[in-house]
């Protein structure tokens, strides 16, 4: 099979997967009215029951479920994604999503940076000093990250760096939101506070936004640290066993050169592709962190949407997140195939 055939085959599967995702989300959010009332964004409590009935009927919510699905599919492709929220704030769901999404991107990007900056060296040290105390310490750190309840870690960071630092009269870090300076003078380019601050040359704003992202990014990164460290360690151990490393050593090259020039480059390929997957995963996985830090992203909104039965937002959120995850997987697989000629499909 050629590369492009493989890509075509995978893309067809991608459509199939998204179709399946949409079926499940649609059924869960429309098929069980006791959990999600699809009509909620269009009505308000002051309406009489007959008016409510009329509005719900006009939106097709009393039709058979399979018909509703086709209407909904039609709406998806024509771009009318419906309204979000309860009657009080019936904004178009796509507008709300696109306003909030950059915040989640900023948080996920920062977390990936922290994960890579900490995780890669940890994995290298762990492999180079295999089965020595440093290795054990690095593995304990990584496993602790996997074993820690994310919300708990977030609150502990808040307790220390927000509350106790305040008590001790130290400069403390903010624990809520993405930025606390008014954004009236800021022109929105990307929607991400740090980037917008920099683009506006408003250093104070950018610094404030940076301070806000520190604790959430560490919280999010700590949980994903383990996977990356483990991967770097395993691939580094694998590389260090290769003949060309023995050759490099026997040529009399210093250990530093062997590790950083020869081994690291080859060991990092899988790690960096995983960092890409990690980013995609974090976009959909920042739910808890966003809730803990009141971060104005899409994750916290999705939780509110689920608890309030806001089906339109839940559907949009899962569809877009699923699309990102599936496309990221495809890209990584293709990238692997391009980088490593040994891989055949």
């Amino acid at each position: 099979m050629r590369l492009y055939e493989y890509i075509v085959r995978r893309s067809v599967l991608l459509i199939f997967v998204l179709f399946g995702v949409s079926l499940i989300t649609f059924y869960l959010s429309r098929g069980i009215p006791s959990a999600f009332n699809p009509c909620a964004p269009y009505i308000n409590p002051k309406m009489t029951p007959s008016v409510i009935h009329g509005i719900c009927a006009a939106h097709g919510f009393y039709q058979p479920l399979y018909l509703q699905y086709f209407y909904w599919l039609h709406d998806i492709f024509t771009g009318s994604w419906g309204n979000t929220g309860t009657w009080a704030s019936g904004q178009p769901v796509i507008q709300v999503f696109s306003q909030r999404f950059p915040f989640t991107v900023e948080l996920a990007l920062s977390a990936v940076v922290v994960t890579v900056v900490v995780g890669v060296p940890l994995g290298i040290v762990s492999a180079v000093r295999n089965n020595r105390p440093v290795d054990h310490a690095a593995r304990i750190v990584a496993l602790t990250g996997i074993s820690t309840p994310v919300y708990w870690f977030g609150f502990i960071l808040q307790l220390i760096f927000f509350y106790y630092f305040l008590q001790w009269g130290l400069p403390n870090l903010p624990n809520q939101g993405a930025v606390s300076i008014g954004s009236a003078t800021i022109t929105t380019y990307s929607g991400m506070p740090i980037l917008d601050g920099l683009l506006n040359a408003n250093w104070g704003y950018a610094w404030d936004a940076f301070l806000h992202v520190i604790l959430p990014a560490i919280t999010l990164a700590f949980a994903s640290l383990g996977a990356l460290t483990r991967l770097v360690r395993a691939s580094m151990l694998e590389v260090l066993r290769q003949d060309y490393i023995t050759l490099a050593r026997s040529k009399g090259l210093s250990e530093r050169v062997v590790i950083f020039r020869h081994a690291l480059r080859n060991a990092l390929i899988p790690a960096l592709t995983v960092a890409g997957l990690l980013f995609a995963g974090l976009l959909g996985g920042a739910v808890i962190t966003e809730t803990v830090f009141n971060w104005p992203g899409v994750g916290i909104l999705s939780v509110t949407a689920v608890t309030q039965g806001d089906s339109n937002f839940v559907i949009l959120y899962t569809l877009i997140t699923a699309l990102i995850i599936v496309v990221a997987n495809l890209l990584v697989d293709v990238l692997y195939a391009v980088v490593d000629p040994r891989i055949r499909y």
């Binding site: 599967l13 199939f16 997967v17 998204l18 399946g20 995702v21 499940i24 989300t25 869960l28 959010s29 069980i32 959990a35 999600f36 054990h136 593995r139 304990i140 496993l143 602790t144 996997i146 074993s147 820690t148 309840p149 994310v150 919300y151 708990w152 870690f153 609150f155 502990i156 808040q158 307790l159 509350y163 483990r230 395993a234 151990l237 694998e238 959909g284 996985g285 739910v287 808890i288 809730t291 999705s302 939780v303 689920v306 608890t307 039965g309 839940v314 959120y317 899962t318 997140t321 699923a322 995850i325 599936v326």
Partner: protein, 318 residues
């Protein structure tokens, strides 16, 4: 280094010889496991929590454990005279309440001891069910092949594409907030991993010579599947299951944190920790201690699973 090398089977493959070789292999694996201090630590931690959960009703009397703080302790009695009018239910550690009290004024230590068996059994139930589903679907997919394989794989693809936690949340919202429903919600998002794992294992296993031999001997397909193929491909799943015990407890407590607690008074570790969030700046021990217990349980099983994975991975087994 006088490390014991993995045994090389030179004898003719008699039944007793095979058995001896197998036992050598097991002994070698065990020696690898216990040689690793991290795994040993993990085994000790996990065993500690398992023992506590078995004897929890002996250590704590469930009949009186739910009692709230009585009059003398109502003022966080620490041997000093209480300051009148500052009645609090959440008290810091004292002699009677070694870890302080929880948000309901109950002895936090007792609550944690009662919560550990509940959390462990929740995790065990979910992991065991997911394992069963995974083994059946994965084995069928690999053994049947063709369109059956394709359909099962695509369904797991769909589940992998979902944002995991949000899907669990939606299931929980649809099903309702009771412990069995939350378990079901987690199970519904958890099983696809096992299907993939056992399918991959079985695919490499079913092309081996012994399967051909069984076929030639006239052994039935089902017998081959259940008595030979599945037992031979199950080890990586057991590693994953060990690692997942912690993961399930974390997920359960995440659902509780996101507002799906079955009942605020339920002695469940996630519940106790979440209960402390509202008082984090006034009574930090609540969330700190309950969260630490979750961390240690999870870490214990993760250490064991991580070590098992190394032992079973032939590339790292040197």
């Amino acid at each position: 280094m006088t490390e014991k090398q993995p045994p090389v089977d030179k004898e003719p493959p008699t039944r007793s010889g095979q058995r001896a070789a197998y036992m050598d292999e097991v002994k070698y694996s065990l020696s690898l496991l216990t040689k690793n201090k991290l795994v040993l630590g993990g085994i000790i931690i996990s065993a500690f929590f398992i023992i506590i959960s078995i004897f929890s009703n002996v250590i704590v009397n469930p009949a009186s454990a739910y009692n709230t703080i009585n009059y003398h302790n109502a003022y966080c009695w620490n041997g000093n005279l209480p300051s009148w009018g500052t009645q609090a239910t959440t008290c810091p550690a004292s002699l009677n309440y070694p870890l302080g009290s929880d948000g309901f004024g109950r002895n936090l230590l007792n609550m944690i001891i009662l919560a550990i068996p509940l959390d462990l059994s929740i995790a065990l139930e979910i992991v065991a069910s997911a394992l069963a589903i995974g083994i059946i679907l994965g084995a069928v997919a690999a053994y049947a092949g063709g369109w059956v394989d394709e359909v099962i794989l695509r369904v797991t693809d769909i589940f992998f594409a979902f944002p995991f936690l949000v899907l669990a949340l939606v299931f929980a919202a649809v099903l309702g907030r009771t412990i069995p429903n939350l378990e079901l919600a987690i199970l519904l998002v958890w099983w696809p991993v096992y299907v993939r794992l056992i399918r991959g294992q079985m695919l490499s296993e079913k092309n081996k010579a012994y399967v051909e031999a069984l076929k030639a001997l006239g052994v039935s397909r089902w017998r081959t599947l259940f008595l030979h193929l599945i037992p031979n491909s199950i080890y990586p799943l057991l590693v994953q299951a060990t690692l997942d015990i912690g993961g399930v407890i974390l997920t359960f407590s995440a659902l509780v944190f996101l507002g799906f607690s079955p009942s605020a008074a339920l002695p469940e570790l996630g519940n106790l920790a979440v209960d402390g969030i509202g008082q984090i700046f006034t009574a930090p021990w609540l969330i700190v201690i309950a969260g630490l217990v979750i961390l240690f349980i999870s870490l214990g099983f993760n250490l064991v699973g991580d070590g098992l994975r190394d032992v079973l991975d032939p590339r790292l087994r040197r």
